[in-house]
């Protein structure tokens, strides 16, 4: 809109309110994570009386946080890598090739995105139990079960976004490469993938964020040894006491990988989202 004086005043007011709305909870988390325990139990202090880094040291011993961190990293990285790979292949087929059943496949993929995890939770648990009974393959309480669950749940969005992205790449680029004798797959890997990098990064970040923050399936499909961060953080609250300062410090530590990743690729994410999703 045109920048009249009124517009600028209004803009400053609105943006200030929005900034405070976003900032206050973040400030509460960070400031609480720097307080000693005696200062978090009383009335909330906006300005800490005393600042200490000790919650950031204590979090690793109160709870096996490093173990949870490791679990989350393994599961999330594997799920993201597999999901992106599977999605790239399927999205390429949808964007570029003609085949029977394409419409049925796209519709199925798109519509499964609509259904909440809760509808799949119990059946998946039963299927995993049956697989264990029949083959001895342990999917509950193992990394594998969560990895295939998470990768499948991010697939629909990933395929949808990437096929939109691939479709927007001019066909001539590939054709030139195929004339040079690379074949379809060669063209995909040498021409399409490098051009589609922003879209692929956006999809990877989306998959990473969803798997990193998932709670529902983790609550049923993990055990003490494979517990992820989303459940592990609960351990800072015992029956008698909540170590709020440590819980907040752990929250900061847990958020850093996704926040840093997000800020680094933020531009790609916006571009990828608007190319794949909005149009």
């Amino acid at each position: 809109m045109i920048e009249t004086r009124n517009f600028r005043i209004l803009r400053n007011v609105v943006l200030t309110i929005l900034s405070l709305w976003v900032a206050i909870p973040l400030y509460v988390v960070v400031s609480t994570s720097l307080k000693p325990l005696k200062d978090v139990s009383g009335l909330f202090q906006w300005i800490p009386r005393e600042i200490t880094a000790s919650p950031y040291l204590d979090i690793w011993t109160t709870v096996p946080l490093a173990k949870y961190f490791q679990n989350s990293l393994i599961i999330t990285i594997c799920a993201t890598a597999c999901s992106v790979t599977v999605a790239v292949l399927a999205a390429y087929a949808i964007a570029r090739l003609q085949f029977k059943g394409k419409r049925a496949f796209s519709l199925t993929v798109l519509s499964t995105q609509m259904f909440p995890g809760i509808l799949f939770l119990l059946p998946l648990y039963l299927i995993f139990t049956q697989i264990r009974n029949m083959t001895g393959l342990q999917l509950q309480g193992s990394y594998l079960g969560l990895i295939i669950t998470y990768m499948t749940f991010t697939l629909p969005f990933a395929i949808w976004m990437l096929s939109g992205y691939f479709a927007s790449i001019p066909k001539e680029l590939e054709e030139a490469s195929m004339i040079d004798g690379t074949g379809r797959m060669g063209a995909l890997f040498r021409v399409i993938l490098p051009v589609a990098k922003p879209g692929i990064i956006a999809v990877a970040v989306y998959s990473f964020i969803s798997a990193w923050g998932e709670v529902l399936f983790a609550s049923v499909l993990t055990n003490e040894a494979t517990k992820t961060l989303s459940l592990g953080l609960k351990a800072y609250a015992s029956e008698s006491d909540v170590f709020w300062n440590q819980l907040m410090a752990a929250s900061v530590v847990v958020s850093l990988p996704v926040l840093i990743g997000f800020i680094l690729v933020q531009k790609h994410l916006v571009a990828g989202l608007s190319a794949g999703a909005v149009k």
Binding site: T4, L43, L119, L155, L233, L247, Q266
Partner: protein, 337 residues
């Protein structure tokens, strides 16, 4: 399947296309393929991994979920569920009878979840729109603010919820500190935010905080295509800011809006994480949403059949919604590719 027939030449292709059981593909009948089409497994090879995963993790469980609603599944036969007795419509009759307590709870939960969805999506859209409109013009600090506004969306959902849970603490939390101690609302009484009726509102606040950046992101992407000279022309004609917003901005975001509202509504309607972290495995009854209700029935009271019956109803409702959603997302021409 019938692609092999196409190999024998254009004439045969015409006739098989006419016999094609799928009606939605008139193309093949009207335009006989001039190029020789080689039967190719490549597309199927490419979609195979995705198809297997979809079958194993989505389609299979969904069908099994429907089956569960018709059997008597308890924690006793959970590991031997293939032998659980078939009980027909018993679970639906027991659980969803509007006369019974459970049935009433189910239907009021559906209503509550719908109301919740409208409020959360409405507030999120308004905030997202405000952010998008005022950040679409260039000024110093714009890029920083844009990134900053996206932080709640990028944070793991449970982290944002934990932060709010701490702030909503009854005695000493930051929310009561501001509202009661600073502004002296509620006659200096400290309301409980995570119990009773207030918990519904508290949950909305948390959800809007996490969701609005997504609306902001999508609307900002849509607004990038609005040329500034349109606004200039409108301003010269004396259109007020509000008129410019209504006649230029709103129509420009309309194409993106349908998908945006649909996606946000589905996410909100299916919300599980926020109540689960805010209240634990069982929400206050004034704030129970549909996903947590099914979870409570299945894994709290071990009444899997009842959870299954509720799931089937939810599945039907979402299936209808998904038809509208797909119509919106898939461009019309893409159908016959």
């Amino acid at each position: 399947m019938s692609h092999s027939a196409l190999d024998s030449g254009p004439a045969a292709a015409g006739s098989t296309a006419a016999l094609d059981p799928e009606p939605g593909q008139p193309k093949a009948a009207t335009a006989p393929p001039v190029r020789k089409r080689r039967r190719s497994f490549l597309p199927y090879g490419l979609i195979l991994p995705a198809a297997i995963l979809e079958l194993l993790i989505h389609i299979g469980p969904m069908l099994l979920g429907i089956w569960i609603a018709f059997i008597s599944l308890t924690q006793l036969n959970l590991t031997n569920w293939l032998n659980a007795p078939f009980v027909g419509l018993q679970n639906f009759v027991n659980g969803l009878n509007p006369e019974s307590t459970i049935g009433q709870a189910f239907f009021s939960t559906v209503g509550r979840t719908l109301g919740y969805t409208v409020l959360v999506v409405g507030f999120s859209w308004v905030l997202g729109m405000a952010g998008a409109v005022f950040l679409s013009s260039n000024f110093k600090g714009r890029a920083v603010l844009r990134t900053f506004f996206l932080v709640p969306y990028a944070l793991p959902a449970y982290v944002g919820t934990i932060a709010w849970a701490f702030m909503f603490n009854q005695r000493d939390g930051a929310v009561n500190q501001i509202l009661v101690d600073t502004f002296h609302l509620f006659g200096d009484e400290r309301p409980f935010w995570l119990l009773g009726e207030n918990s519904f509102g508290a949950m909305i606040v948390v959800n809007v905080w996490q969701l609005w950046p997504f609306a902001f992101l999508m609307l900002m992407a849509a607004l990038q295509n609005v040329p500034t000279d349109v606004y200039e022309a409108a301003a010269i004609d004396g259109a007020s800011l509000w008129q410019q917003f209504r006649t230029i901005t709103l129509p420009m975001v309309r194409p993106a809006n349908g998908v945006l509202l649909m996606v946000m509504s589905l996410w909100t309607f299916n919300q599980f994480n926020i109540p689960f972290v805010l209240f634990g495995a069982s929400s206050p009854k004034e704030a129970t949403l549909i996903s947590p209700l099914i979870y409570q029935n299945s894994f709290g009271s071990w009444n899997f059949g009842l959870g299954g019956a509720m799931s089937v109803l939810l599945l039907i409702a979402l299936f209808i919604a998904s038809v509208f959603y797909i119509r919106m997302v898939l461009p019309k021409g893409a159908d016959n590719d």
